[in-house]
């Protein structure tokens, strides 16, 4: 790795693309791509761990995006995903439509639900926003549990078979895993791109100081509405993976439990990191599958892991990196302290010089 970095320093065009964040993303992506090849029981690992991680991560990522760039904690993301799942079930199974228009229309409906939610919730902030999104999520849950004509109430819509598009057949679990991976990567790219676009800068400005941005002529609520709609769209992408993973849709998709699971995934992964949610998703999926191999009280174990993460890694599991770095730098400091303090000072000065040089 170090050789590639030293070579990048002589190749300025790559410079912009080489950052610790992008390297992590690349490594995780490579691991995700080889995942089906290294597991011994793909029919278990791909759906129960792989695909689950991907849809939980994608939905949680939309929550993290709103939290990180818009400063709003939305508890309706799972609901938007569920609305998209319901759409696919309703159009393709109940109405018997072809699958591709069903998916496209459902993505639209999921996003539309986000837009409607934004119209109601966007004027509020912090806990009020959270409560309104939670309330709307619960309204949809109650509706889904009762509206037998559309959602088939508690029984839900089943089976929703995985489609065969001709060029790709999602009934093959490995193909389906890569399909889900591609969708998750698209979702990630959408958010990364948005964050650095003019729109992204504007919403970050609004997050920091809505009053100033308003004074500068930005329509604060309209920007927030747009961001929420975009996040609902990405959550809906998660809903597409989810519905084909489960092959059915029922009210438990949008229950309070599922909503909170997404929040836990986001917090465990790192509420400030777009990609970290997939690590959160992975940990959560592993716990869901294996915690009971160790103890009968596996819900307690899951809870303890959650508390442990909150206590020791307030920035989520992606905060582990910086923590280890600090640990190493402390050790470096300790070993350096045995040498003369003057050398250390000189090193520090050199470091500062380097940094200054970089800014230029």
């Amino acid at each position: 790795m170090s050789t590639s970095i030293s070579s990048t320093s002589t190749t300025p065009r790559w410079k912009a693309w080489v950052s610790a964040q992008n390297i992590v993303v690349a490594v995780v992506l490579v691991l995700a791509i080889i995942f089906p090849l290294v597991v011994d029981r793909p029919r278990f690992w791909l759906p129960n761990i792989g695909v689950r991680t991907l849809w939980m991560g994608t939905i949680a990522m939309s929550l993290v995006f709103l939290n990180k760039y818009v400063g709003l904690l939305s508890l309706a993301q799972m609901t938007f995903a569920g609305i998209c799942s319901y759409g696919i079930g309703y159009f393709s199974v109940t109405m018997g439509w072809p699958i591709i228009p069903s998916i496209v229309l459902s993505l639209g409906i999921g996003s539309f639900a986000g837009w409607l939610t934004a119209l109601i919730a966007v004027r509020t902030k912090a806990i009020y926003f959270m409560m309104i999104t939670l309330a709307l999520a619960q309204v949809f849950y109650s509706w889904a549990s009762q509206a037998i004509e559309v959602t088939n109430a508690r029984r839900g819509i089943a089976p929703i078979p995985r489609p065969d598009f001709g060029f790709i057949n999602l009934n093959d679990i490995t193909t389906f895993y890569y399909f889900a991976l591609v969708l998750a990567v698209i979702a990630y790219v959408i958010f990364r791109y948005t964050a650095t676009s003019q729109f992204g800068l504007a919403i970050q400005g609004i997050k920091d100081s809505p009053e100033r941005m308003s004074a500068l002529g930005y329509n604060v609520n309209r920007y927030r509405t747009a961001a929420l709609t975009l996040a609902a769209f990405v959550a809906s992408i998660g809903g597409v993976i989810l519905v084909f993973d489960r092959n059915q849709v029922d009210p438990s998709f949008v229950s309070l439990d599922s909503t909170l699971n997404i929040l836990v995934v986001a917090v465990v992964g790192g509420i400030g990191s777009l990609g970290g949610v997939f690590i959160g998703g992975l940990v959560f999926a592993l716990l869901q599958n294996f915690a009971q191999d160790f103890t009968d009280r596996y819900m307690t174990l899951t809870g303890l892991v959650f508390i442990g993460v909150l206590l020791f890694f307030p920035a989520g599991l992606v905060g582990l990196g910086p923590m280890i770095r600090r640990l190493f730098s402390k050790r470096a400091k300790a070993s350096a302290s045995s040498e003369s303090s003057e050398t250390l000072d000189a090193e520090r000065r050199a470091g500062t010089h380097n940094k200054k040089g970089q800014h230029k």
Binding site: M1, S2, I5, S9, S19, A20, I23, V24, V27, V28, L31, F35, V38, V39, D40, R41, R43, F44, W45, P47, N48, I49, R52, S142, S145, Q146, I148, N152, A153, R154, R155, G156, A158, P159, R246, N247, Q248, D250, S252, F253, S258, I279, L282, L286, N289, F290, Q292, D296, M299, V318, L320, G321, P322, R325, F328, S329, N354, K355, G357, Q358
Partner: protein
Amino acid sequence: MKAMLKKRLVPVVAIAATAGLILSGCSGAGGGETKEIKIGVLATDKGNLAFGMDEAKAAIGVSMASIGGTIDGGEIDGVPVTIVYEGTDGTSASAQTAVKKLVENDGVDIVFGPVSGDEGETVVQYALTTPEVTYVNGSASPVGMTLAGATNFFRFHGDSAMWMGGLGDYAYNEKGYKKIYAIAEDYSFPYDNAGGFFSEFCAAGGDVTGNSWVPVGTTDYSSIIAQIPADTDAVYVGLGGADAASFLSQAVTAGVNKPLVGGTIAVDTTALSGDANIADVAAGMIAGGPVPGPDYDSPEWQAFVAEYVKQPKAFPSPSIFSILYYNSFNSLLLALEEVKGQLGSPDQKNLREALTALEWTSPTGPIKLDANRQAIVDNFLIEVEKGADGKLTTKQISQTSGVAQGTKTYDRFEGCPK
């Protein structure tokens, strides 16, 4: 720049290494194939049916004791049997996770379970995709499960419509109820349960004066009680657990003077022991289900109860779940004994033929399968009565033999089921 990159590189490597460890470490957790028979049990161990796992283990314990085994396994004709357990929370999502883990990761030959109807419908869908594994149902009772065409799925107890077998006729002809108002929870189990009752009741000539489908967890029934028309002869209570208890106590307060007809889970100890005052409305309530009344005394039943109470964490008397789990697991065990532990190939042919042909007398009467691998069983009608000490108890009013499955699944209906 270099220093900064170096600083950033540390977390990168650390995370990559951790991810690598997770991948390599966990993939080792998957087991290989063995020559023994591995049975994977699905049962609820959290949520409102959390006691399902204990009841399942008690039932399996009784059954395995008959071959000298334990809840963890035993031996059939020299073939070791291992039993692994996977807990769920009663939702379709957790059942889907758990059944995939049992089949794909633990590599079980036979899946036994699950408990709830929501889980059952999911497990049947999964069974359709894994024809090489045999599924024996635990206590999930939706009608549609054995009508889904999964030839590897067997159910050795009645569905929730069959649990009402005989009650509609009894209510109309013996009790003389001509018009009934229906209150039931709004999910698949009460649909089938009420559907079974009302299809028989309406066929006998009865009429429905109205249906109230309430969400699970409803505690306020005052507005619904107020809707019951005056010319109603009886009220059907398709509620369970705490909901049934709430309804009964509010029925007393609101002065409901109509006799009650209970769904299968309305008359259990939770509802009856909840409030001493409910005796006024609950006494005389009739209900149907797979559980016999306390005065039932077939030798098989007595032998089962005697073994059941010895099990750790057993209730004072067996619940509906332990009875269904026992009848189902013992059916499986008898079939395994029949084939001397040789499952056969392809697709466990021997075992499936033995299961299909099995006929035995269970604690709750004779069991055999129909062409859809659905049991034809006996069903029990019970009536709540006030005991000498003022406490509510149940007595058995009849045992309907050879109740077979209908061909209809029920959804929420208005009036009589269509």
